[in-house]
Structures are given as structure tokens and as C-alpha cells.
Amino acid sequence: SAVISQKPSRDICQRGTSLTIQCQVDSQVTMMFWYRQQPGQSLTLIATANQGSEATYESGFVIDKFPISRPNLTFSTLTVSNMSPEDSSIYLCSVPRAGDTQYFGPGTRLTVL
């Protein structure tokens, strides 16, 4: 299984500010995924981060709000910009592994006041 780390594990932020979440994988991967899980909800894919190209965003998510960087094959960042309380969620990165499985990072619990 992949070893994935995320930083920070949790944060409490003021509305209007931005937070950058980091995801580090122990091996090179082509794709990295960023998910959001709002309270009581399931996981929703925000975007797919590909090294060397722009991230691909899902419907309802835009680059201005969730800019993503993918500087190399083991690292990615997701920024949550101009935060509001509705952005309070768990944010997870994941990577594909054997077959169709994905392994998830430990997650970042964000609370926006």
C-alpha cells in the first residue's frame, strides 16, 4: 500500500483567508485526486492533478477557488481560497494503486469560522 501524508491534519481558519493543504506520496504516481467530504456527506471529487499539465476540475469546482499545484510525481497541493463556513470539510488526497483501487491520505479537517 502507498504511504501518503497530508499537512496540516487539521486547521481552524477565519473566513476570507486561504489554506494550502499538502499531499506527499512515497512513490511516483501519474494522477493524484483531491476530494472533499462535507459534514454528513460522502466524498466528492474536486479535481484530478496530473504532473506537467493543468488539473482537471469536476463540475461545481473552479480553479480560482481551489487552485492545485503538481510540481512533481510525488507531491501536490490544494489551496482553499477565500474561505467561508461552507468550506468546512475534510479534504483528502488519494492516489490510484493496483487495479482500480485508490489509497487515501489521512485527511485534513478544516473548520472555517
Binding site: S1, Q41, S42, L43, T56
Partner: protein
């Protein structure tokens, strides 16, 4: 629109009980279905199901897929308090790009 629906939404049982969790899916260009267990933040992988009628088993957990009726079940026998978690299923679509469609999960609580 692709969707995955899980039932029940929540379940409370006592240790030793057997539970069955349901997952129905409508996923275009369906490729496979996966089950995950989420205890705190990160979901952990349980099973991947691709073919109908073939049971996957791991200890007290087992799962099976019915591609004709578009559903899957996850069984947990002799439940333990450590089984308390949210159980998520996800259908994989290859429409356009490879993507997971998650259900809303079943929250299981096992009482001692």
C-alpha cells in the same frame, strides 16, 4: 447522472450480530465497485468487485456484486465494536476519465 445509493443510512447493532449493507448503483461505463471503511478521516480499502456472483471474503467481512441488478452487499458477521465506522461504496466509471462515484455511506455503530 451517475449515482450510488447506500442503505441503510445508519445502523445500530450489538456485538455478535450480523449486518448487511446495501449499495445500488447507476454508473455509465461501469468498471468496478469498491467498498471502503472510514473510521476517522481516511477511508481504508476493503474490497474491489468486478465480476458478478463472485464473493470476496476477508475474515468476517464478505461482499458480492450483482451486475444485472446493479447492486452490491457487504456482510459483516459476528460484529465487534471495532467495526463501528462509516462504510462507503464507490462505483468506478470510465466515461471520459476514470472516476470514483461515492455513495453517502452507511454509519454502523456496534454496541458492546
Amino acid at each position: 447522472e451517475d449515482k450510488v445509493v447506500q442503505s441503510p443510512l445508519s445502523l445500530v447493532v450489538h456485538e455478535g450480530d450480523t449486518v448487511t449493507l446495501n449499495c445500488s448503483y447507476e454508473v455509465t461505463n461501469f468498471r468496478s465497485l469498491l467498498w471502503y471503511k472510514q473510521e476517522k478521516k481516511a477511508p481504508t480499502f476493503l474490497f474491489m468487485l468486478t465480476s458478478s456472483g463472485i464473493e470476496k471474503k476477508s475474515g468476517r467481512l464478505s461482499s458480492i456484486l450483482d451486475k444485472k441488478e446493479l447492486f452490491s452487499i457487504l456482510n459483516i458477521t459476528a460484529t465487534q465494536t471495532g467495526d463501528s465506522a462509516i462504510y462507503l461504496c464507490a462505483g468506478i466509471t470510465t466515461s471520459g476519465t476514470y472516476k470514483y462515484i461515492f455513495g453517502t455511506g452507511t454509519r454502523l455503530k456496534v454496541l458492546a
